[in-house]
Symmetry: C2
Subunit: 376 residues, 2 copies
């Protein structure tokens, strides 16, 4: 029998945490970065390369998958793991966030969020119960409650209303969640940038009881100076023995700052999206490959990277691929950036284990601040 979900806290270094999550499809060392495979595929990447980049868990988007190809269809085809060919753990979101950001004509009431599909215009009703059912049909290892995620800045009234609606939906999700196959259900802390609402949300969710807790409603356009204090306020109200997931975050710097504040899991489209636009994340910071300075440079992006593509292809070649519009440019830069994110998480875990996370963070941030190697 497959193992059921569990979390083990292995070490702490100040607020930073080293842990391990067990799921029916394998283990995940935390802090962990989850690349986003929106439509049952990682954009511009093959699953083998997702794995070789050091990735242990990926995120799938309920909103996209429910609309196309459909949750019942994926279930009939054996679930998302069998359908896509990704055999490791999968976390699925609830669809709520993307209804808010992508669907036209959406309407939220106590019962459900109703929206038009951006693909064919069909009217779709997503209740908390249906969100959990879809995630069961997909066969995800970690399911998320349905929530209402509002954009910042928002009025205190709107923020409070959305947070309380999300709490009500959290209870309904918990009621219908079937953990018999070993999967997990996470609650989502809402409350915008208002500390008392965030703390109210966290306490109420912990009272309901979930396998893990996410902080939602951040990374929605607000500066890091708004985001980090919210994390700092919320984290102490979450139980030590459950993983903490910061949704939709972020830059490498966001990740280290959030690990320093006790967060364990992250997801973001940034490394793959930037890769498709010719930008790579490296220990030298972000590198824009399209600019002319790279056109004759035989050096790789990072000769010390553990990932072969970062060592084996010249900047000149990557520059050429992007200028020529070759798909391989997007492929290689997506891989290189994901691999850098995973290398960063791996190094963060080692630093926490060694009790030197603060030093590691300072050194890494200094490397980014120093910038790219001189042109030649």
């Amino acid at each position: 029998m497959k193992e059921a979900f569990s979390f083990r806290l292995i070490a702490r270094d100040s607020a930073a945490r080293l842990g391990e999550i067990t799921t029916p499809h394998g283990r995940i060392a935390t802090p962990a970065f989850m690349p986003v495979g929106t439509q049952a595929a990682m954009k511009a990447m093959q699953w083998r390369d997702v794995r070789e980049s050091g990735t242990e868990i990926v995120l799938g988007n309920t909103y996209h998958l429910m609309l196309r190809p459909g949750a019942e269809r994926i279930a009939a085809l054996g679930g998302l793991h069998t359908f896509s060919g990704w055999t490791g753990p999968i976390l699925t979101d609830s669809g709520g966030f993307q209804v808010m950001s992508l669907a036209p004509l959406r309407n939220v009431d106590e019962k459900a969020v109703t929206f038009r599909s951006h693909i064919d215009g069909a009217t779709v009703v997503l209740t908390p119960e249906r969100a959990i059912e879809i995630q069961r049909l997909l066969g995800s290892d970690i399911a998320m409650q349905l929530d209402e995620c509002i954009a910042l800045p928002a009025s205190p009234e709107d923020t409070a209303r959305a947070m309380r609606l999300s709490l009500a939906w959290a209870e309904r999700c918990k009621l219908v969640f079937d953990g018999s196959r070993g999967g997990a259900l996470f609650g989502i802390v809402q409350g915008g940038d208002i500390d008392r609402l965030r703390i109210e949300s966290a306490r109420a969710l912990v009272a309901i009881g979930f396998h893990g807790y996410a902080i939602g409603g951040l990374a929605v356009g607000e500066p890091q100076a708004v985001m980090l204090p919210v994390i700092g306020e919320v984290a102490p109200h979450l139980p030590e023995d459950r993983p903490r997931y910061l949704m939709g975050v972020g830059t490498p710097d966001d990740l280290l700052e959030s690990v320093a504040r006790g967060m364990d899991m992250f997801d973001c489209v940034m490394p793959t999206r930037n890769g498709r636009h010719g930008v790579a994340f490296t220990r030298y910071g972000e590198i824009t490959l399209k600019i002319a300075r790279h056109s004759d440079d035989p050096r790789p992006l990072d000769e010390t990277s553990p990932y072969p593509a970062a060592r084996n292809f010249s900047r000149a070649y990557l520059h050429h691929l992007m200028k020529a519009g070759e798909m391989l440019g997007a492929v290689l830069l997506s891989e290189i950036s994901i691999a850098y994110y995973q290398e960063l998480m791996n190094s963060a875990r080692a630093a926490i284990a060694a009790g030197r996370f603060a030093q590691f963070r300072a050194e890494t941030e200094a490397g980014w601040a120093k910038g790219d190697i001189p042109a030649r």
Copy 2:
């Protein structure tokens, strides 16, 4: 020291030939299919997967590479092998064909072809000598003479003029070709669909003397019923001990028919181009993945394929990827089609060695004619 170019004829089965080409970057079993890596990249594929698909040699396009990133730049970066990361043999065309098909405002005279770059509008002069110099700078294992390739149908006068100009350029290319690094230079038989011109071209090229001989000016829109007789007329006039390359061909059926007429090498963008448009080549013929019949089909494209991607992903998943516009669809279908082409060539070689090529061809064509497995 790297080995110099050579060709060994291993077996014959009626007119079909089994052989082996040696180049400075490795050996190639013939009949051989060469996928086209136009811009120093195989569209939608990684070099590792090009290799794993069974590919031993790829084609690079002089026209594209001379314009971007430039031949001198690639030379300064170590040549096309080092630049791209493809370590096997590379055949480069001369640029002539693509000047005719892609460049605006082209003009051909005895001295050169002059054209505007389709990238930046710059005027470029391509002489036979410059075509050879560019291919030397790229470091190709097999270089092609510059020729004038006209579209069919064409008048006998135009056809004869272009053939004789190509012969004159063949001589000039031979004069400046430097074989000291072990590479090869191929001449190109022209003459449209006029047998006596084709034979005149072939004899004159053989008199000049090349490492191999190509048939050009086919696969330019004419039906197979025009192409195959030309091959049948030309092949007997080419020396037995040199490889014969049919340029720009073609469908799997074109390949088997041409192998039956004594051709050894082929190149075509069809498997990768069709792959990007959702069509796969298989032993069941061409399969269009976008159509609804595949949407719920858990079966792979071909469970007997030696190539993992053809066995491991369901038709339903490939259908979904194409409908959703995921790059991975183009990636997997390009790989699967290239792998099928290579499997076909591998089987053809085995059949020639066993003296049963005619039977193999009949069985294979019957499989295509039978079509795809029944829907379910």
